[in-house]
Amino acid sequence: MAEVEGSTAKSEGLASCHTCLKLVPEDTHTCPRCGSAVHQRETDSLQRCVALLITACILYIPANVLPIMYTDQLGKTEASTIIGGVVLLIKLGSIPIAAIIFIASVMVPSGKLIAMFYLVWSVKSHSQLSPQQRTVMYQVTEFIGKWSMVDVFVVAILVALVHLGGLLVIRPGFAALAFAGVVIVTMIAAEIFDSRLIWDQLEDNNDNSAT
């Protein structure tokens, strides 16, 4: 597993196929092995990523303001938002579950948005964090993305399970759609962000100091 003189595919004039990992000359458009489109770097990665992040921020507002769930109990209707659900769980004494929902529905989506904005910014500026640290940050962000869907699934399960005529019925709220939107849009943003751009900076700096 020897390193090939510490060079990258880009510096050798090569591109790696995103789908099948084959190395091809950088001017190749279609991978000869699997037939996918080949790009040395994701096209307009940063612009597309920022556009999706802004979309996610906008969707994040209705996701938190509107009710995610309605509980009809004996003729009374109670609406609950994401934060309201967490507060209710704390009151009921289910601290671990309140923590799971708080982490999955509040900390992960907002933390992910902040982390992605930071990563995009860091590609264009001087970051305090090393490329190694930022790569880990990106990989964590990418990995935890789908876990935010927990709250949407909880709503889906409760709606399907709890319908006892006039006694107790749970209905979904519009925030479920907005929140699912936030999760999906940020997942796509993370996929579009090209982490190799973080390392390209390193090579550009080396080139500058060499000349």
Binding site: M1, A2, E3, V4, G6, S7, T8, A9, K10, E12, L14, S16, T19, C20, L21, K22, L23, R33, C34, G35, S36, L89, L92, S94, I97, I100, P131, Q132, T135, V136, Y138, Q139, W147, M149, V150, V152, F153, V154, A156, I157, L158, V159, A160, L161, V162, H163, L164, L167, L168, P172, F174, A176, L177, A180, I184, S195, R196, I198, W199, D200
Partner: protein, 204 residues
């Protein structure tokens, strides 16, 4: 550039031609995992995929959870989960939930079987390339393990309101989730494409 991988995370070129069965390679610069050559990978993926599909059918066929309070009872099945969202005016969320927890994972399993049967028998099939392209993309959109956590959270939320009973399908889905994760974990992208390429060369 046979036997070399450009790290997907940082683009460093790494020579993996010396890698032996059972060994894994990760990027020396950023630590990103590159490939792992497994023994009998295809037989394992095939076995897990077939078992996972059977478990998924079970998970769809019986009651998943039941909820009883004051003499009234409601039973939920897995396909009902998205169906009830649809009925409550959220068709988009219903489609997404159905896709993430049932249809995408099911499609991935079928694709894995279509892929590993010919690879195991070392026979070229015209669908190998398109299936190979799709399987990894789709796989990143399955949320099987997230749904399991969702079920656990739901249980805790309503445990105090009423008696909740887990049905046969609940256990079916838990088995399905475990087998699905094992099938995905046993498949290596780099190795798979090397083999597809070799089969294509043999043919022509």
């Amino acid at each position: 550039m046979q036997g070399t991988i450009a790290c997907h995370a940082c683009d460093l070129l790494v020579d993996v031609s010396e890698l032996k069965t059972g060994q894994r390679a990760s990027c020396p610069r950023c630590g990103h995992s590159l490939t792992r050559i497994r023994k009998d990978a295809h037989s394992k993926v095939l076995a897990y995929s077939v078992a996972a599909l059977i478990a998924l059918v079970t998970a769809n066929a019986f009651p998943f959870l039941s909820f009883a309070s004051s003499g009234l009872e409601s039973v939920m099945t897995l396909p009902q989960t998205p169906a009830m969202l649809w009925g409550n005016g959220l068709p988009m969320v219903a489609i997404l939930v159905a896709a993430f927890i049932i249809y995408i994972p099911a499609t991935v399993l079928v694709l894995l079987i279509l892929l590993c049967m010919p690879l195991r028998g070392e026979r070229w099939r015209p669908w190998l390339k398109p299936v190979g392209r799709w399987v990894f993309t789709l796989q990143s959109w399955s949320m099987v393990e997230v749904f399991i956590i969702g079920v656990i959270v739901s249980l805790v939320k309503i445990m105090k309101m009423a008696t909740v009973t887990m049905g046969l399908s609940f256990w079916g889905y838990v088995f399905f989730a475990i087998l699905f994760t094992m099938a995905i974990a046993a498949l290596d992208k780099y190795q798979m494409w090397q083999e597809i390429e070799a089969l294509e060369e043999q043919r022509g």
